[in-house]
Protein backbone atom coordinates (compact mmCIF):
# COMPACT_ATOMS: atom_id res chain seq x y z
CA UNK A 1 0.00 0.00 0.00
CA UNK A 2 1.36 3.39 -0.99
CA UNK A 3 0.46 6.57 0.83
CA UNK A 4 -1.27 8.82 -1.71
CA UNK A 5 -1.85 12.43 -0.63
CA UNK A 6 -3.94 13.12 -3.76
CA UNK A 7 -6.84 11.22 -2.18
CA UNK A 8 -6.95 13.81 0.54
CA UNK A 9 -6.70 16.80 -1.79
CA UNK A 10 -9.48 15.47 -3.98
CA UNK A 11 -11.92 15.36 -1.08
CA UNK A 12 -10.79 18.54 0.65
CA UNK A 13 -14.18 20.34 0.57
CA UNK A 14 -15.95 17.40 2.27
CA UNK A 15 -13.18 17.11 4.82
CA UNK A 16 -13.46 20.79 5.66
CA UNK A 17 -17.21 20.47 5.98
CA UNK A 18 -16.90 17.42 8.24
CA UNK A 19 -14.38 19.26 10.40
CA UNK A 20 -16.83 22.15 10.59
CA UNK A 21 -19.63 19.89 11.80
CA UNK A 22 -17.37 18.34 14.44
CA UNK A 23 -16.17 21.75 15.64
CA UNK A 24 -19.71 23.18 15.74
CA UNK A 25 -21.16 20.21 17.65
CA UNK A 26 -18.20 20.12 20.01
CA UNK A 27 -18.23 23.82 20.83
CA UNK A 28 -22.03 24.08 21.10
CA UNK A 29 -22.28 20.87 23.18
CA UNK A 30 -19.54 22.13 25.45
CA UNK A 31 -21.05 25.63 25.83
CA UNK A 32 -24.48 24.24 26.67
CA UNK A 33 -22.85 21.60 28.84
CA UNK A 34 -20.92 24.21 30.83
CA UNK A 35 -24.08 26.30 31.30
CA UNK A 36 -26.19 23.30 32.35
CA UNK A 37 -23.37 21.91 34.49
CA UNK A 38 -22.99 25.23 36.29
CA UNK A 39 -26.74 25.35 36.90
CA UNK A 40 -26.67 21.81 38.32
CA UNK A 41 -23.67 22.57 40.55
CA UNK A 42 -25.19 25.78 41.98
CA UNK A 43 -28.58 24.10 42.50
CA UNK A 44 -26.87 21.24 44.32
CA UNK A 45 -24.92 23.71 46.46
CA UNK A 46 -27.77 26.02 47.43
CA UNK A 47 -30.90 23.91 46.90
CA UNK A 48 -30.80 21.97 50.16
CA UNK A 49 -29.93 18.39 51.01
CA UNK A 50 -32.83 16.66 49.18
CA UNK A 51 -32.16 18.47 45.89
CA UNK A 52 -28.48 17.63 46.18
CA UNK A 53 -29.21 13.91 46.57
CA UNK A 54 -31.83 13.84 43.78
CA UNK A 55 -29.55 15.62 41.32
CA UNK A 56 -26.67 13.31 42.16
CA UNK A 57 -28.55 10.39 40.54
CA UNK A 58 -28.57 11.56 36.89
CA UNK A 59 -25.02 12.89 37.27
CA UNK A 60 -23.79 9.50 38.48
CA UNK A 61 -25.69 7.59 35.76
CA UNK A 62 -24.30 9.82 33.01
CA UNK A 63 -20.77 9.53 34.35
CA UNK A 64 -21.11 5.80 34.94
CA UNK A 65 -22.27 4.65 31.48
CA UNK A 66 -20.42 4.74 28.13
CA UNK A 67 -21.25 7.64 25.82
CA UNK A 68 -21.87 5.13 23.03
CA UNK A 69 -24.58 3.43 25.08
CA UNK A 70 -26.22 6.78 25.89
CA UNK A 71 -26.37 7.72 22.19
CA UNK A 72 -27.88 4.34 21.28
CA UNK A 73 -30.49 4.67 24.00
CA UNK A 74 -31.58 8.15 22.91
CA UNK A 75 -31.35 7.59 19.15
CA UNK A 76 -32.87 4.11 18.89
CA UNK A 77 -34.78 3.98 22.17
CA UNK A 78 -36.06 7.58 21.99
CA UNK A 79 -38.81 6.91 19.40
CA UNK A 80 -40.41 4.36 21.76
CA UNK A 81 -40.77 7.15 24.31
CA UNK A 82 -42.09 9.60 21.72
CA UNK A 83 -38.70 11.28 21.18
CA UNK A 84 -37.73 11.03 17.51
CA UNK A 85 -34.61 13.04 16.86
CA UNK A 86 -32.48 13.48 13.76
CA UNK A 87 -28.79 12.54 14.06
CA UNK A 88 -27.52 16.10 14.59
CA UNK A 89 -30.04 17.23 17.28
CA UNK A 90 -29.64 13.86 18.99
CA UNK A 91 -25.86 14.21 18.92
CA UNK A 92 -25.96 17.75 20.25
CA UNK A 93 -28.33 16.86 23.09
CA UNK A 94 -26.27 13.82 24.07
CA UNK A 95 -23.01 15.80 24.03
CA UNK A 96 -24.61 18.58 26.10
CA UNK A 97 -26.06 16.32 28.77
CA UNK A 98 -22.98 14.10 28.94
CA UNK A 99 -20.60 17.04 29.33
CA UNK A 100 -22.96 18.81 31.78
CA UNK A 101 -22.64 15.86 34.16
CA UNK A 102 -18.86 16.15 34.12
CA UNK A 103 -18.77 19.94 34.20
CA UNK A 104 -21.16 19.99 37.18
CA UNK A 105 -18.59 17.93 39.10
CA UNK A 106 -15.78 20.27 38.04
CA UNK A 107 -17.76 23.27 39.31
CA UNK A 108 -18.75 21.46 42.51
CA UNK A 109 -15.08 20.86 43.26
CA UNK A 110 -14.33 24.48 42.32
CA UNK A 111 -16.92 25.80 44.78
CA UNK A 112 -15.53 23.54 47.49
CA UNK A 113 -11.98 24.76 46.87
CA UNK A 114 -12.77 28.38 47.77
CA UNK A 115 -12.18 28.84 51.51
CA UNK A 116 -15.51 29.26 53.30
CA UNK A 117 -14.15 32.28 55.16
CA UNK A 118 -13.97 34.23 51.88
CA UNK A 119 -17.73 33.71 51.49
CA UNK A 120 -18.38 34.62 55.15
CA UNK A 121 -16.43 37.87 54.75
CA UNK A 122 -18.65 38.74 51.77
CA UNK A 123 -21.82 37.82 53.69
CA UNK A 124 -20.80 40.06 56.55
CA UNK A 125 -20.45 42.96 54.11
CA UNK A 126 -23.96 42.37 52.79
CA UNK A 127 -23.22 40.81 49.39
CA UNK A 128 -26.15 38.75 48.12
CA UNK A 129 -25.80 35.12 47.05
CA UNK A 130 -25.70 36.05 43.35
CA UNK A 131 -23.12 38.79 44.04
CA UNK A 132 -20.99 36.32 46.01
CA UNK A 133 -21.08 33.82 43.13
CA UNK A 134 -20.27 36.47 40.53
CA UNK A 135 -17.71 38.55 42.40
CA UNK A 136 -16.02 36.05 44.74
CA UNK A 137 -16.62 32.38 43.90
CA UNK A 138 -16.35 32.44 40.09
CA UNK A 139 -13.15 34.52 39.87
CA UNK A 140 -11.51 32.63 42.72
CA UNK A 141 -12.35 29.20 41.31
CA UNK A 142 -11.55 30.11 37.69
CA UNK A 143 -7.92 29.12 38.07
CA UNK A 144 -8.87 25.92 39.88
CA UNK A 145 -11.46 24.74 37.34
CA UNK A 146 -9.56 25.75 34.21
CA UNK A 147 -7.15 22.77 33.88
CA UNK A 148 -9.84 20.09 34.41
CA UNK A 149 -12.16 22.02 32.07
CA UNK A 150 -9.62 22.01 29.25
CA UNK A 151 -8.95 18.35 29.91
CA UNK A 152 -12.67 17.65 29.70
CA UNK A 153 -12.95 19.63 26.47
CA UNK A 154 -10.25 17.45 24.91
CA UNK A 155 -11.97 14.24 26.01
CA UNK A 156 -15.28 15.55 24.71
CA UNK A 157 -13.82 16.27 21.27
CA UNK A 158 -12.55 12.72 21.02
CA UNK A 159 -15.84 11.29 22.32
CA UNK A 160 -17.65 13.20 19.56
CA UNK A 161 -16.18 10.72 17.06
CA UNK A 162 -18.66 8.19 18.48
CA UNK A 163 -21.47 10.26 16.91
CA UNK A 164 -20.49 8.68 13.58
CA UNK A 165 -22.32 5.56 14.79
CA UNK A 166 -25.66 7.36 14.42
CA UNK A 167 -24.64 8.84 11.03
CA UNK A 168 -23.99 12.39 12.18
CA UNK A 169 -22.09 13.87 9.18
CA UNK A 170 -19.07 14.84 11.26
CA UNK A 171 -15.37 14.33 10.73
CA UNK A 172 -15.12 10.61 11.44
CA UNK A 173 -18.18 9.79 9.33
CA UNK A 174 -16.93 11.88 6.42
CA UNK A 175 -13.41 10.54 6.39
CA UNK A 176 -14.44 6.90 6.87
CA UNK A 177 -16.70 7.29 3.84
CA UNK A 178 -13.84 8.69 1.79
CA UNK A 179 -11.68 5.79 2.91
CA UNK A 180 -14.19 3.19 1.70
CA UNK A 181 -14.99 5.05 -1.46
CA UNK A 182 -11.34 5.36 -2.54
CA UNK A 183 -10.03 2.16 -0.96
CA UNK A 184 -7.55 4.38 0.84
CA UNK A 185 -8.10 3.48 4.52
CA UNK A 186 -4.57 4.25 5.67
CA UNK A 187 -4.60 7.79 4.26
CA UNK A 188 -8.08 8.42 5.65
CA UNK A 189 -7.46 7.18 9.16
CA UNK A 190 -4.07 8.88 9.31
CA UNK A 191 -5.62 12.18 8.29
CA UNK A 192 -8.40 11.71 10.84
CA UNK A 193 -5.85 11.30 13.63
CA UNK A 194 -3.89 14.35 12.50
CA UNK A 195 -6.95 16.62 12.41
CA UNK A 196 -8.18 15.57 15.88
CA UNK A 197 -4.70 15.95 17.27
CA UNK A 198 -4.29 19.43 15.74
CA UNK A 199 -7.57 20.61 17.34
CA UNK A 200 -6.55 19.13 20.70
CA UNK A 201 -3.15 20.85 20.59
CA UNK A 202 -4.73 24.17 19.66
CA UNK A 203 -7.26 24.02 22.51
CA UNK A 204 -4.60 22.97 25.01
CA UNK A 205 -2.53 25.97 23.93
CA UNK A 206 -5.52 28.27 24.41
CA UNK A 207 -6.02 26.75 27.85
CA UNK A 208 -2.42 27.49 28.83
CA UNK A 209 -2.73 31.10 27.66
CA UNK A 210 -5.93 31.55 29.69
CA UNK A 211 -4.26 29.98 32.73
CA UNK A 212 -1.27 32.31 32.50
CA UNK A 213 -3.58 35.34 32.30
CA UNK A 214 -5.71 34.25 35.24
CA UNK A 215 -2.79 33.48 37.48
CA UNK A 216 -1.31 36.99 37.45
CA UNK A 217 -2.81 37.81 40.83
CA UNK A 218 -1.25 34.75 42.45
CA UNK A 219 2.27 35.02 41.19
CA UNK A 220 3.04 38.60 40.25
CA UNK A 221 5.90 40.19 42.16
CA UNK A 222 5.30 43.21 44.41
Amino acid sequence: MIFDPNVILKHLPEIIQGTGVTLALWIAGMAFGIALGFLVATTRRYGGKATNVVLAIPVEILRGTPFLVQIFLVYYGGPFAGLSLGPIPCGLICLTVYSAAYYSEVFRAGFAAVPHGHVEAAECLGLSRVQIIRRILLPEMALIVLPPSVNLAVILLKESAVLSIITVPELTTTISAIGSQEYAFLEAIFLLAVIYWAIVEASAKLGRIAEARLSTFRFSAP
Binding site: G117, A121, E123, C124, L125, I136, P139, A221, P222
Partner: protein, 263 residues
Protein backbone atom coordinates in the same frame (compact mmCIF):
# COMPACT_ATOMS: atom_id res chain seq x y z
CA UNK B 1 -28.74 53.84 81.31
CA UNK B 2 -28.11 53.60 77.60
CA UNK B 3 -29.17 50.57 75.61
CA UNK B 4 -26.43 47.95 75.22
CA UNK B 5 -24.98 47.80 71.69
CA UNK B 6 -25.44 44.05 71.66
CA UNK B 7 -27.65 42.20 74.07
CA UNK B 8 -27.37 38.42 74.27
CA UNK B 9 -30.14 36.68 76.19
CA UNK B 10 -30.32 33.01 77.18
CA UNK B 11 -28.35 32.03 74.10
CA UNK B 12 -27.90 28.32 73.35
CA UNK B 13 -25.96 26.90 70.42
CA UNK B 14 -25.87 23.23 69.55
CA UNK B 15 -23.94 21.49 66.80
CA UNK B 16 -25.85 18.22 66.41
CA UNK B 17 -25.97 16.76 69.89
CA UNK B 18 -23.06 18.80 71.25
CA UNK B 19 -24.02 21.93 73.17
CA UNK B 20 -21.27 24.48 72.61
CA UNK B 21 -22.97 27.48 74.23
CA UNK B 22 -25.24 27.17 77.26
CA UNK B 23 -27.52 29.97 78.52
CA UNK B 24 -25.28 32.88 77.65
CA UNK B 25 -26.35 36.29 78.94
CA UNK B 26 -24.12 39.17 77.92
CA UNK B 27 -24.49 42.90 77.46
CA UNK B 28 -21.97 44.62 75.22
CA UNK B 29 -21.80 48.29 76.29
CA UNK B 30 -21.75 50.96 73.59
CA UNK B 31 -18.45 52.68 72.88
CA UNK B 32 -16.51 50.20 74.99
CA UNK B 33 -14.15 47.31 74.29
CA UNK B 34 -15.48 43.96 75.46
CA UNK B 35 -13.09 41.03 75.47
CA UNK B 36 -14.03 37.36 75.43
CA UNK B 37 -11.34 35.16 76.91
CA UNK B 38 -11.17 31.48 77.75
CA UNK B 39 -9.45 28.24 76.80
CA UNK B 40 -9.69 26.67 73.33
CA UNK B 41 -13.09 25.11 72.73
CA UNK B 42 -14.76 27.24 75.38
CA UNK B 43 -17.19 28.65 72.80
CA UNK B 44 -15.91 32.24 72.66
CA UNK B 45 -15.48 32.24 68.88
CA UNK B 46 -18.89 30.61 68.41
CA UNK B 47 -20.47 33.31 70.58
CA UNK B 48 -18.82 36.01 68.48
CA UNK B 49 -19.91 34.29 65.26
CA UNK B 50 -23.49 34.21 66.58
CA UNK B 51 -23.26 37.97 67.06
CA UNK B 52 -22.28 38.31 63.37
CA UNK B 53 -25.04 35.83 62.42
CA UNK B 54 -22.42 33.57 60.85
CA UNK B 55 -23.79 30.89 63.17
CA UNK B 56 -27.49 30.62 63.85
CA UNK B 57 -28.22 30.18 67.53
CA UNK B 58 -30.42 27.27 68.63
CA UNK B 59 -32.28 29.13 71.39
CA UNK B 60 -32.31 32.60 72.89
CA UNK B 61 -32.13 36.07 71.41
CA UNK B 62 -29.57 38.58 70.26
CA UNK B 63 -30.47 42.23 69.75
CA UNK B 64 -28.25 44.83 68.08
CA UNK B 65 -29.04 48.37 69.27
CA UNK B 66 -32.47 47.10 70.25
CA UNK B 67 -33.20 45.35 66.94
CA UNK B 68 -33.54 41.57 66.82
CA UNK B 69 -30.76 39.78 64.92
CA UNK B 70 -31.95 36.83 62.83
CA UNK B 71 -34.73 35.64 65.13
CA UNK B 72 -37.50 37.30 67.08
CA UNK B 73 -40.09 36.18 69.55
CA UNK B 74 -43.65 36.37 68.20
CA UNK B 75 -46.81 37.10 70.24
CA UNK B 76 -47.08 33.46 71.34
CA UNK B 77 -43.51 33.48 72.58
CA UNK B 78 -42.20 31.30 69.72
CA UNK B 79 -38.89 31.91 67.97
CA UNK B 80 -39.30 32.96 64.35
CA UNK B 81 -36.77 33.73 61.64
CA UNK B 82 -36.75 37.28 60.31
CA UNK B 83 -36.92 37.99 56.55
CA UNK B 84 -33.54 38.03 54.78
CA UNK B 85 -33.63 41.77 53.99
CA UNK B 86 -34.16 42.59 57.65
CA UNK B 87 -31.34 40.27 58.71
CA UNK B 88 -29.05 42.04 56.22
CA UNK B 89 -30.07 45.45 57.56
CA UNK B 90 -29.23 44.55 61.16
CA UNK B 91 -26.02 42.81 60.11
CA UNK B 92 -24.88 45.92 58.23
CA UNK B 93 -24.30 47.60 61.60
CA UNK B 94 -21.63 45.04 62.36
CA UNK B 95 -18.10 44.72 60.97
CA UNK B 96 -16.26 41.41 61.28
CA UNK B 97 -12.53 40.69 61.35
CA UNK B 98 -11.40 37.07 61.04
CA UNK B 99 -8.43 35.13 62.35
CA UNK B 100 -7.51 34.11 58.78
CA UNK B 101 -8.05 37.64 57.33
CA UNK B 102 -10.21 36.18 54.53
CA UNK B 103 -9.16 38.76 51.99
CA UNK B 104 -10.23 37.96 48.42
CA UNK B 105 -7.01 36.96 46.63
CA UNK B 106 -8.08 38.12 43.17
CA UNK B 107 -8.58 41.74 44.27
CA UNK B 108 -6.01 44.33 45.31
CA UNK B 109 -6.11 45.85 48.79
CA UNK B 110 -8.10 48.75 47.33
CA UNK B 111 -10.40 46.32 45.51
CA UNK B 112 -11.05 44.40 48.71
CA UNK B 113 -11.88 47.53 50.67
CA UNK B 114 -14.06 49.15 47.98
CA UNK B 115 -15.91 45.99 46.87
CA UNK B 116 -18.95 46.22 49.17
CA UNK B 117 -19.38 49.93 48.41
CA UNK B 118 -19.40 49.23 44.67
CA UNK B 119 -21.37 45.99 44.59
CA UNK B 120 -23.81 46.34 47.48
CA UNK B 121 -24.27 50.09 47.78
CA UNK B 122 -23.79 50.93 44.09
CA UNK B 123 -21.40 53.78 44.91
CA UNK B 124 -19.64 54.99 41.71
CA UNK B 125 -16.18 53.49 41.26
CA UNK B 126 -14.10 56.64 41.82
CA UNK B 127 -16.02 57.68 44.93
CA UNK B 128 -15.89 54.13 46.33
CA UNK B 129 -12.14 54.02 45.77
CA UNK B 130 -11.66 57.42 47.38
CA UNK B 131 -13.51 56.25 50.46
CA UNK B 132 -11.61 52.97 50.46
CA UNK B 133 -8.34 54.86 50.19
CA UNK B 134 -9.26 56.93 53.25
CA UNK B 135 -9.76 53.71 55.22
CA UNK B 136 -6.44 52.31 54.00
CA UNK B 137 -4.78 55.54 55.09
CA UNK B 138 -6.30 55.09 58.52
CA UNK B 139 -4.59 51.70 58.90
CA UNK B 140 -1.38 53.12 57.40
CA UNK B 141 -1.47 51.21 54.13
CA UNK B 142 -2.27 53.82 51.48
CA UNK B 143 1.01 52.98 49.73
CA UNK B 144 0.00 49.31 49.48
CA UNK B 145 -3.39 49.99 47.84
CA UNK B 146 -2.51 48.28 44.56
CA UNK B 147 -0.91 45.22 46.12
CA UNK B 148 -2.62 41.85 46.05
CA UNK B 149 -3.03 40.02 49.37
CA UNK B 150 -0.29 37.56 48.34
CA UNK B 151 2.12 40.51 48.18
CA UNK B 152 1.37 41.69 51.72
CA UNK B 153 2.64 40.48 55.09
CA UNK B 154 0.18 38.88 57.50
CA UNK B 155 -0.01 42.02 59.60
CA UNK B 156 -0.67 44.16 56.53
CA UNK B 157 -3.33 41.73 55.32
CA UNK B 158 -5.11 41.92 58.66
CA UNK B 159 -4.98 45.72 58.60
CA UNK B 160 -6.53 45.67 55.09
CA UNK B 161 -9.21 43.33 56.47
CA UNK B 162 -9.92 45.83 59.27
CA UNK B 163 -10.13 48.67 56.71
CA UNK B 164 -12.53 46.53 54.65
CA UNK B 165 -14.77 45.95 57.66
CA UNK B 166 -14.73 49.68 58.42
CA UNK B 167 -15.74 50.98 54.96
CA UNK B 168 -19.45 50.53 55.53
CA UNK B 169 -19.18 52.55 58.77
CA UNK B 170 -20.37 49.82 61.14
CA UNK B 171 -21.41 50.74 64.67
CA UNK B 172 -19.87 47.63 66.16
CA UNK B 173 -16.66 45.79 65.26
CA UNK B 174 -16.18 42.11 66.04
CA UNK B 175 -12.67 40.62 66.12
CA UNK B 176 -12.22 36.85 66.05
CA UNK B 177 -8.68 36.16 67.29
CA UNK B 178 -7.27 38.84 64.97
CA UNK B 179 -3.63 38.22 65.83
CA UNK B 180 -3.57 34.44 66.32
CA UNK B 181 -2.38 33.76 62.76
CA UNK B 182 0.44 36.31 62.99
CA UNK B 183 3.96 35.91 64.21
CA UNK B 184 4.70 37.93 67.36
CA UNK B 185 6.54 40.74 65.54
CA UNK B 186 3.47 41.50 63.43
CA UNK B 187 0.82 41.41 66.16
CA UNK B 188 1.87 44.86 67.38
CA UNK B 189 0.85 46.73 64.24
CA UNK B 190 -2.60 45.10 64.26
CA UNK B 191 -3.12 45.75 67.98
CA UNK B 192 -2.12 49.40 67.45
CA UNK B 193 -4.81 49.82 64.80
CA UNK B 194 -7.30 48.28 67.22
CA UNK B 195 -6.15 50.60 70.02
CA UNK B 196 -6.71 53.64 67.77
CA UNK B 197 -10.16 52.35 66.93
CA UNK B 198 -10.98 51.90 70.62
CA UNK B 199 -9.72 55.42 71.36
CA UNK B 200 -12.18 56.77 68.77
CA UNK B 201 -15.00 55.23 70.78
CA UNK B 202 -15.82 52.28 68.53
CA UNK B 203 -17.87 49.55 70.18
CA UNK B 204 -15.70 46.44 69.94
CA UNK B 205 -15.99 42.79 70.88
CA UNK B 206 -12.66 41.01 70.79
CA UNK B 207 -11.98 37.31 71.11
CA UNK B 208 -8.31 37.10 71.87
CA UNK B 209 -5.50 35.29 73.59
CA UNK B 210 -3.72 38.65 73.89
CA UNK B 211 -4.30 39.01 77.61
CA UNK B 212 -2.08 42.09 77.62
CA UNK B 213 -4.36 43.80 75.11
CA UNK B 214 -7.45 42.72 77.04
CA UNK B 215 -6.01 44.05 80.27
CA UNK B 216 -4.90 47.43 78.91
CA UNK B 217 -7.54 48.24 76.27
CA UNK B 218 -10.52 46.16 77.42
CA UNK B 219 -13.29 47.79 79.45
CA UNK B 220 -15.18 44.59 80.12
CA UNK B 221 -13.79 41.08 80.29
CA UNK B 222 -15.91 37.95 79.96
CA UNK B 223 -14.52 34.55 80.75
CA UNK B 224 -15.97 31.46 79.07
CA UNK B 225 -15.30 27.83 79.86
CA UNK B 226 -16.97 24.75 78.35
CA UNK B 227 -19.74 26.75 76.73
CA UNK B 228 -20.68 28.73 79.83
CA UNK B 229 -20.02 32.34 80.61
CA UNK B 230 -18.50 32.09 84.08
CA UNK B 231 -17.64 35.68 84.84
CA UNK B 232 -17.97 39.20 83.44
CA UNK B 233 -16.28 42.17 85.00
CA UNK B 234 -13.83 45.04 84.78
CA UNK B 235 -10.23 44.13 83.86
CA UNK B 236 -8.97 44.89 87.35
CA UNK B 237 -11.49 42.48 88.90
CA UNK B 238 -10.62 39.78 86.40
CA UNK B 239 -6.85 40.01 86.29
CA UNK B 240 -5.81 41.45 89.65
CA UNK B 241 -8.06 39.37 91.88
CA UNK B 242 -9.60 36.51 89.90
CA UNK B 243 -12.40 35.28 92.14
CA UNK B 244 -13.44 32.28 90.16
CA UNK B 245 -11.22 29.21 90.69
CA UNK B 246 -11.39 28.19 87.02
CA UNK B 247 -10.49 31.72 85.93
CA UNK B 248 -7.59 31.78 88.36
CA UNK B 249 -6.31 28.52 86.95
CA UNK B 250 -6.67 29.83 83.36
CA UNK B 251 -4.87 33.07 84.15
CA UNK B 252 -2.04 31.37 85.99
CA UNK B 253 -0.44 30.35 82.72
CA UNK B 254 -0.52 33.97 81.49
CA UNK B 255 0.51 35.55 84.76
CA UNK B 256 3.51 33.24 84.76
CA UNK B 257 4.49 34.91 81.54
CA UNK B 258 4.46 38.38 83.01
CA UNK B 259 1.01 39.67 82.12
CA UNK B 260 0.45 40.56 85.78
CA UNK B 261 2.84 43.45 85.25
CA UNK B 262 0.21 45.04 83.03
CA UNK B 263 -2.57 45.30 85.59
Amino acid sequence: MTLPAINVKKLVKRFGTATVLQDIDLEVPEGKVSCLIGPSGSGKSTLLRCMAFLEESSEGMITVNGEALGFFENARGERERLPAAQIRAVRSQIGMVFQQFNLWPHMTALGNVSEALKTVHKVPKTEAEDRAMAQLKKVGLENRANHYPSQLSGGQQQRVAIARALTLSPKIMLFDEPTSALDPELTGEVLNVMRDLAAEGMTMVVVSHEIGFAATVGNQISFLDQGRLLFTGAPADVFAKPRHPRLEQFLDTYLDRGASMLV
